[in-house]
Amino acid sequence: MERQALNGWIERWQARLLWAATLLVAMLVLAITLVLAVGATRFLQSRGWRLGVLLGANWNPLAGHFEIGLFIVDTIIVTALAMAMTLPFGLGVAVFGAYVASSWERTALRWLLTVLAAVPSVAMGWWGLAVVVPGLRRIGGGPGFSLLAAGAVLAVMLLPTFGLLALEVLDKVPEDWHQASLALGASEDQNLLQMALRVSLPGLKTAFLTAVARAMGETVAVQMVIGGAVYGFHGMLGPGATLTTQILTDMAILPLGHPAHGVLDLMAVILLAGLTLLTIWAQRGDERP
């Protein structure tokens, strides 16, 4: 009887602990969002809620100009470039791994992708400085530090993220379905295109959006190769700056307490909102019928 009472006591406390852990997470999310949102709101208020803050491209903190439109555009461009390069390679790697590779090739491929995923972003940026930037300078002219360089470095970083996730998705297509499809006279290519990829589409969408979210949030590797130009748009082969890299650049001249510190909060809030939307969208795609 006493033992039962003890067990009951342990169970009650276990439940409370787990509940407290969950509460802590919820409070953290709330606290982070709140701090950023308050800073962002105050900043917008000080600017009289002008839309130009978001749409304009005049950024000169020392002269008091804080328009972040260029960074939003550059973030979108760099992310799109990275995804455009990652998508075909990642899909190719995943299809090879799931349907073509022998079992040792598949193991080797998984291992390679995992190693690539583990390369720290500063090392990836360093590689970009040594290879991508001079390469682009030689091929395209210009400084080499560019949106395209940032996109290329990001693409390499996203390849394992997207490739491994896509590989998992394709692996999950049941053997029964392959056999049923082949038994109807599908060639291997038809089986892949008309059955396997089609049924994997929701999962591939999730993998893709997860990679997009990573691309949007990546900072150091991008900062090292993008050139950090804040005046105007210079094309794909010209330098630029994204929301993340500009927060990194200006956190020193707009420290906490500075009247315009809030503009960095605003940039963080925009990133956070974008990533939250992406995550929600990605999870919706994961529900299989």
């Binding site: 056999q179 499809s181 038994a183 006279g185 599908a186 008309q194 059955m195 049924v199 019928p289």
Partner: protein, 250 residues
């Protein structure tokens, strides 16, 4: 309707011999039931006929298999064409996560049918043949996964019929279904007789007796006995067949 002949067919999975020197003939338009204990090679025999056996790693096939006189084990055989002529129904009903319509239209589309009117006609015809039409008419755009197990098995049959095969392989098509659904599949098999050559693997001896013209008994990869169903069930020639039919098998 296809005439099927197997001559001294053996199959190995790695070093394991799954089928041992099997020779048999199936008359066009007849139903052959294959019975025998688990792991005796019944499913392997079916999978030789559409060469799905080659999907198993390290599988090797020896011997000759003729369908309407053509050796289907020859290296230059067009697998897509072979599998179009020889359809297959699996133990667990397989529906793709598409609509009912797209499931049935999958095969015809593979083979290049694009005209929507033609596709509609084929889908409707196949669903009628598989006795599913009355239950799904007007709901063809709904997901196939919403159907019951028995309906999904009939959908699989409709999908196989939609590419107009000459022979149909059925690998324990009713073993995962409730008795009512199983009975409907059996009715369909009887109905298909004469239009298609049917090979059906089953663990249900009564089912074999009810639907088939001929019955073959396999044990440990060997075809022990094959004859008219009435003869096999009333007067088996081999005592191993008799032992299996009377439940005295080890």
């Amino acid at each position: 309707m296809a005439a099927i002949t197997m001559e001294r067919v053996s199959v190995w999975y790695g070093r394991v011999k799954a089928l041992n020197d099997v020779s048999l003939e199936v008359e066009p338009g007849s139903v052959l039931a294959l019975i025998g204990p688990s792991g005796c090679g019944k499913s392997t025999l079916l999978r030789v006929l559409n060469r799905l056996v080659e999907r198993t790693p390290a599988a090797r096939v020896a011997g000759r298999v003729l369908i309407d006189g053509h050796d289907i084990l020859a290296p230059d055989v067009d697998l897509a064409l072979l599998r179009r002529r020889v359809g297959m129904i699996f133990q667990r009903p397989v529906s793709f996560p598409f609509s009912i319509f797209d499931n049935v239209a999958y095969g015809p589309r593979l083979h290049g049918m694009k005209n929507p009117h033609q596709l509609r006609r084929v889908v409707e015809g196949s669903l009628k043949q598989a006795a599913l039409w009355d239950e799904v008419r007007g709901k063809l755009r709904r997901p196939a996964h919403g159907l019951s197990g028995g309906q999904q098995q009939r959908l699989a049959l409709a999908r196989a019929l939609a590419v107009n095969p000459e022979a149909i392989l059925m690998d324990e098509p009713t073993s995962s279904l409730d008795p009512g659904s199983a009975a409907r599949i059996e009715e369909l098999v009887v109905h298909l007789k004469g239009q298609y050559t049917v090979l059906i693997v089953t663990h249900n001896l009564q089912q074999a007796a009810r639907v088939s013209d001929f019955t073959g008994f396999l044990d440990r990869g060997q075809l022990i006995e094959l004859g008219e169903t009435s003869q096999i069930f009333t007067a088996p020639r081999d005592r191993r067949t008799e032992a299996y039919l009377t439940g005295q098998f080890e």
